[in-house]
Symmetry: C3
Subunit: 106 residues, 3 copies
């Protein structure tokens, strides 16, 4: 048994949870906050059999695509104010796979 | 040292936390959401000595009893609307026991 | 790879997250509740390389200092009401270091 702890964007959470449900995986959702952007994100706990890790990773890869987006940004360092959008990364997933010593459904 | 991650129903959380406190176990509570019913539930983190796992499992078994309950359900598929209650499972606990590599009380 | 799960006081969370960011450590913050005092506290998830555990523990030791504070307390057991402040412990951190079996940045 493995426990996957996956940190994903809030905007991908619904889709990934639906896809996990369709593939008969159970999941628990925790609301979380990212340390750098200090914005809300989602932490999922997914308990699975050892041989299901690859399948779950594939589902995560398909639903949490890392992409670039332009966000408005006002560059105030210059003499005149310029509104140049800047490019940031969004989407993606940070995935920790932990060994489960014992599992019980009480 | 083991870390127990237990997902339980909100309605059992108070009682289980009291029982853990009476038995001198420390616990941290996280608010969570179930992936299937999309309802709020509770995730507990319980750090214990290796030889205390059975005792904590017993306390969980006594307080988080899995039971059936009838919930009102309107069956709309039929020509006339029939109010037949349906039986669902409630209570219970999902318990992951993880090995702790190092523990510090700073 | 290790996953640190650290339970700290809300009042130390901002400072510790800043210090982790300055030292290029990534962190995810979860809002939590202590089982004994039933007060809000903070649970941090910090994924790091095996050889960074000592460095992160030092940062936690410097920012989450365990200290005593006096809190107003009305002793009602006596014949006359006496306002004697009582001393409680505050600050500190409870730190679990878990082994990570696999890590993916998707
Ligand atoms: N010092 C720095 N300099 C420049 N850019 C930085 C940076 N720290 C973070 N970023 C960027 O900001 C994104 C959001 O980070 P945040 O900490 O808010 O939100 C993070 C955090 O909540 C979590 N996370 C990432 N690595 C983690 C780790 N090792 N341990 C615990 N949580 C982690 O996953 C979320 C997404 O991380 P991801 O790496 O995909 O995306 C990161 C990364 O692209
Ligand atoms: N595909 C499906 N088809 C039919 N019935 C389904 C189903 N998925 C879940 N259920 C039923 O619904 C109950 C609530 O699931 P939920 O995902 O909301 O709430 C779950 C979830 O938050 C967590 N959980 C269970 N297994 C998990 C796992 N492997 N990994 C992470 N979290 C898990 O524990 C809560 C209670 O789970 P429990 O198994 O006792 O009870 C489950 C189960 O009886
Ligand atoms: N039965 C008891 N009798 C007398 N005093 C008691 C006690 N249980 C707890 N305390 C005291 O109260 C403080 C707050 O505990 P609380 O459970 O609210 O908040 C806890 C809890 O959320 C978490 N925690 C501590 N040990 C844990 C464990 N083994 N597993 C999971 N979470 C733990 O860390 C927070 C701070 O713990 P810390 O030990 O520094 O500080 C504890 C401890 O000094």
């Amino acid at each position: 048994m493995k426990l996957i702890i996956a940190v994903i964007e809030d905007s991908d959470a619904h889709l990934l949870m639906d896809v996990l449900k369709e593939n008969n995986f159970q999941v628990t959702k925790l609301a979380s906050t990212g340390g750098f952007l200090l914005q809300g994100n989602t932490t999922l706990l997914i308990g699975i059999e050892d041989n299901e890790v690859e399948q779950v990773l594939d589902l995560i890869r398909k639903t949490c695509v890392r992409r670039k987006k332009l966000i408005p940004h006002t560059a105030t360092e210059l003499p005149t104010v310029i509104n140049l959008p800047i490019e940031v990364e969004t989407g993606g997933a940070i995935v920790f796979v932990l060994d489960v010593d014992q599992f019980y459904k009480i």
